[in-house]
Amino acid sequence: MSLIDSLPRVGAPKLPRVDGLIPWIVPLTIILIWQVACVTGFVSARVLPAPSDVALAGWKLLLSGELARNIWVSFWRASVGFLIGGSIGFSFGLANGLSQTSSKLTDTTLQMVRNIPHLALIPLVILWFGIDESAKLFLVALGVFFPIYLNTLHGIRTVDPQLIEMGRIYGMSDGELFRRVIFPGALPSIFVGLRFALGIMWLTLIVAETIAASSGLGYMAMQAREFMLIDVVVLSILIYALLGKLADSASRALERLTLSWHPAFQKH
């Protein structure tokens, strides 16, 4: 009768294929409206080029090899910065979650540093590193550090103490207790940190590449602005959106794989 009533019956057998397409309906519609608006002259090409022009610009850049090179450079910076910042944040999170001494020693300092917006360090970073690779890596690593650190710490501290007591009663060693109780218990929270960190990773990289770089997507966009190539500017922005979505999907897939026990990830 009503829409809600009809949902389960209609969806039950064929749902997976239809379900996968639903999230793309809105973006595709927007692109369609955008194309129509540009072709009909409702939006000037100097304000916003048509999606077809953006695709064409992308195709040209792809043929010249420039696009692939810039994407690769940005991707490399993002992942290396993420790995450095993430692993340091994870280590501090573990250490401070598991050891009172370590927590007393470093947590206050880290909380103070956390309150400095890391992008405010850009002038200082440029003075230190110039527009070298290390400047970008440093900023990305710094941005990624805090969400990973805070969520790892929070995850470990909120593991059910009754489960820890159970583990001890059943004779688990410290290592086993960590591997079988504490780490799996902290994992959902660590994933929250991971997804926050991925967002900050792209944000930091875009800003850093826009301000101080001689390659990468952000640099490509800034160059295009100099030459008034608005299609390339829009292209870079779209690629950032796609890369961000890709990183998020990857972390979600990893989450589904490792948290299959969690009620939220059980399909039946």
Binding site: Q162, L163, E165, M166, G167, I169, Y170, G171, M172, R180, V181, P184, G185, L187, L259, S260, W261, H262, P263, Q266
Partner: protein, 280 residues
């Protein structure tokens, strides 16, 4: 639910009586000795800061006995159990077992199942093997413990999909898998609904008969205590106020006049002095 109904239906009684008798013979073996450990407690005291929770407990529990400990909340009954299980440090006095114990010999079951949500049912049971879980027969032992509690078909499930009663049965399998000689229950059925409770009580009684461990059950439910235990201890203000033998043959019929009378007198003891008991 179905199981609960089957267990309390009168038709099942003769079969059960047979089974219990057979189990009793198995348990006592040729020499008539129980697998359980006897327990002797002398002058046991426990304080948390300035608050003295247990004020000198002297108690002997023979091997294989089923003892229930009842009392008001905060009387120290759970603390006594945690001390016996070695989960708290003793302030003064001694707790002695009749033989040298391995850590696997004393097991506790809590009100919460405390299962690892990220481990399948079978690996949760394997946790109960303690240091023996790396032996090659670990999985077979865990499986037979699951069979014992009637959950072998759930071995590959995540705990999240089990009902409260099923989770508690997995916790029982985990406690049983190392074949403990003393099993301490801290309100294990407190969070279950009435029918599941009755079915779990039957299960506890059966595994106790089957395995012959010494059972110590802390409960606030006096009817549960008289239905299951050989002996009921009433704890008041950190000491043993009453020590009552429950001399009613097993299997006991729920709601029988004998059980009800005993339950009434224990309740009366519990309420005495602190409340008006004229209506009891």
């Amino acid at each position: 639910m179905q199981e609960a109904l089957r267990l309390i239906s009168p038709g099942a009684e003769p079969v059960r009586a047979d089974f219990v008798e057979q189990a009793r013979r198995l348990r006592h073996g040729s020499d008539g000795a129980s697998r359980g450990l006897a327990l002797t407690i002398r002058g046991l005291r426990k304080s948390f800061g300035d608050n003295e929770v247990l004020r000198g407990i002297d108690l002997h529990i023979p091997a294989g006995q089923f003892v229930a400990i009842v009392g008001r909340s905060g009387c120290g009954k759970s603390t006594l159990l945690r001390l016996i299980a070695g989960l708290e440090t003793i302030t003064a006095g001694t707790i002695g077992f009749s033989e040298e114990t391995r850590p696997e010999d004393v097991r506790v079951m809590f009100q919460e199942p405390r299962l690892l949500p990220w481990a399948r049912v079978l690996s949760n049971v394997e946790v109960g093997l303690g240091h023996e879980r790396h032996l090659p027969d670990a999985q077979a032992r865990a499986e037979s413990a699951l069979v014992e509690v009637g959950l072998d078909e759930k071995r590959g499930q995540w705990p999240a999909v089990l009902s409260g009663g099923q989770k508690q049965r997995v916790a029982l399998a985990r406690a049983l898998v190392s074949q403990p000689r003393v099993l301490a229950f801290d309100e294990p059925l407190g969070a279950l609904d009435a029918l599941t409770r009755i079915s779990m009580q039957r299960l506890l009684e059966r595994v106790w008969h089957d395995q012959g461990f010494t059972a110590i059950l802390v409960t606030h439910d006096v009817s549960e205590a008289v239905a299951l235990a050989d002996r009921v201890l009433v704890i008041e203000e950190g000491g043993i106020a009453h020590d009552i033998e429950v001399d009613i043959p097993r299997p006991r019929r729920r709601g029988s006049a004998q059980l009800a009378a005993l339950e009434g007198s224990i309740l009366k003891n519990l309420l005495q002095g602190t409340e008006d008991t004229s209506d009891l």
